[in-house]
């Protein structure tokens, strides 16, 4: 776009109508790779290689700060055990880690094949008609009454 925009592209307030429209259009049109332009603006930072490390150390430092702050801030607690410094921090960390690590044995114990109860069933009927249809498994399962 050249800077010598003809005057007729301005509205009564003097704004460049065409440019504004183009900006709006650009912000709503996915790129050729299918990436939404807002994705870069809102979450582009997550693609940086160092983000993972930064998040790790960021949360590590924040955790320390919160526990240290515990020493300075008087707390009003109903439950005796909660008076311990950093109790909530420890309980949160331990609970979370316990739940996640229990995922390993529980997964082995309880996970079965998807058709364990018979046909697993595909997506519901009201999905976007543009979604590419995957080869259906319907019909490979025989139910009572199917033969008539």
């Amino acid at each position: 776009m050249s800077d010598e925009t003809p005057n007729d592209t301005r509205d009564s307030n003097g704004r460049f109508v065409k440019r504004a429209a183009e900006t709006a259009h650009r912000l709503h049109t996915p790129s050729e790779e299918g990436v939404h332009p807002m994705a870069k603006i809102l979450f582009g930072w997550t693609e940086n290689k160092r983000t993972g490390t930064l998040i790790f150390w960021g949360f590590a430092i924040l955790s320390m700060v919160l526990i240290v702050a515990d020493l300075a801030i008087p707390r009003h607690e109903y439950v005796e055990i909660a008076h311990a410094t950093g109790f909530y921090a420890l309980w949160g960390f331990a609970s979370f880690a316990f739940v996640v690590l229990m995922g390993w044995p529980l997964g082995r114990l309880l996970r079965r094949k998807e058709d364990y109860y018979g046909e697993p069933g595909g997506p519901p009927a009201d999905i976007d008609p543009d979604v590419p249809v995957e080869p259906s498994t319907e019909g490979t399962y025989v139910y009572e009454g199917d033969e008539d």
Partner: protein
Amino acid sequence: MTGPLSMLNPGWLMIAVGLAALFLPMRRVRQGLTIATPIIAIILLALADQNVNHLGVQALGIDFIFYRVDGLSFIFGLAFLLAALLNAIYAWHTDDRLQDGMAMAYAGAAVAATFSGDMMSLFVFWELTAITSVFLILRAGTRAAYFASMRYLAIQILSGVLLLAGIAYVYHSRGDLSVQAFTSLKEPGAILVFIALGIKAAFPFLHNWLQDSYPKATVVGAVVLSAFTTKLAVYAFARMFPGHDALIWIGAVMTVFPVFFAVIENDLRKVLAYSLNNQVGFMICAIGLGATGVGDALALNGASAHAFCHIIYKGLLFMSMGAVMYRTGTTKASELGGLYKSMPWTTVFCIIGAMSISAFPLFSGFAAKSLTMSAVGHEGYTIVWLMLLFASAGVLEHSGIKIPYFAFFGHDSGKRVKEAPFNMLLAMGLAAFICIAVGIPAIVPGLGYEWLYNLLPYREEAMAYNPFTLDHVLTQMQLLVLAIFAFVMLKRLGWYPPEKPGVVLDTDWVYRKAGYGLFTWAGTIWQKAGPAMTAVFFKLTGRAYDRIEDTFSPRGELARGGLGSAMAIWTAILLGLVLLLAFITSS
């Protein structure tokens, strides 16, 4: 407000419109109605006087109270109506008369039940929620959904039947059907009503209808379903069983056990269904505290506020997963990832829902859950309090991190789709707005969390409570930040279990596998045993008949040789027997 409109239960209006919508072929007119009706209903509700019977009828010696509003029913009714409005906006892109009509009638039935003052009306609308909602699952059109909907219907109707049986006992002992609290579970009928409500609230071991059916419903259907049935049960518990100790422990168990299932579940809509279970546990626990003392008002306020916020943020999370389902055709974590690139707005709204349900300060869950946690701590239930705190970290795991991380970030699935339709984004945006609006501090008095607290059943006690004290924010942040740090660390170490496809066994195994197997086995046995037994029977009777015929028929033994020897002998023997009998009895 006076006049005939003031007597109209908003739920009835919605049921009528919903039934009419079934026959309305003009798509936009029908959808306009489904959006306008909840708005009108909210206005009707706002204008209704509280603690007054607006419409009642006496028939068959029973006082039916069709429309009664008070503090408790107001907040639940309002949440239902807001959910109905958001759901109608969310469904704007569809063209489905049955789904539009049934979703509206379902919401209406829940609202009508909430404002019913007698148990018989409550029962009727209780059943109506089951009958209308089943179509939202059926409409998915898959065979798996068909079977799930039949299981769903059977269990929901069972709940209704138990409720009706309980009501019969209650009527017999009280002679009155008004909805009032049971003083003890030993009261006649109380235990039946308790189990009936427990089924709908998805108590542990009675919960699997929920995880079975919701993830198999339609995109819109799952969003609609998430709002009403379980929260209607929560309302009914708050009404009929406040302060029953059993609920404290049932609720605490309910918050804890779904956490483990949610971690290993691959289908993200099913993860949300487990998370729903966990959240309802918090409300049930608070209701159990209900009448034990000072915590009374705090706990019931906590349950009501939690229900209100939960209906909105859980709806929002289901909406975001619905949008993912709509565009990609799947919600399996193992097939998703990297969707923020194509659905950034959906990602933003999902994160807002996730932060609300995890109870981050400044989001709605914080303002609501604080009441319950304080009440539990206040009453000195240390173990329950620790369980709820554990469950809070669990919610952060499955709803706060797992849902957004595996759908929108994580390993890039390479799926590049369109952003969700505008109407879906609008509905999600409105829900996200409510999540933040009732979560922020009351900088302007009466707004922020105070707006919600103002609507709670125990208004004065609620307004005296301030969730934004320094120590409270600090402890909550400690819990959440350290839990997130645990996630980051486990991910970094590679200790986080990978998402794998598969079904996770739960208690529904008992009837879907063992029970079903038992019945199929019994059927096979019967197929063989039945004919065999028939054959034996016919053989025996046939033989007896043959003998009788051999003896008495015109060709038989007795007819042979005219009135000769055999007949005379037999007659003599018979006569002798009769004489003998007469002799024995007379002596």
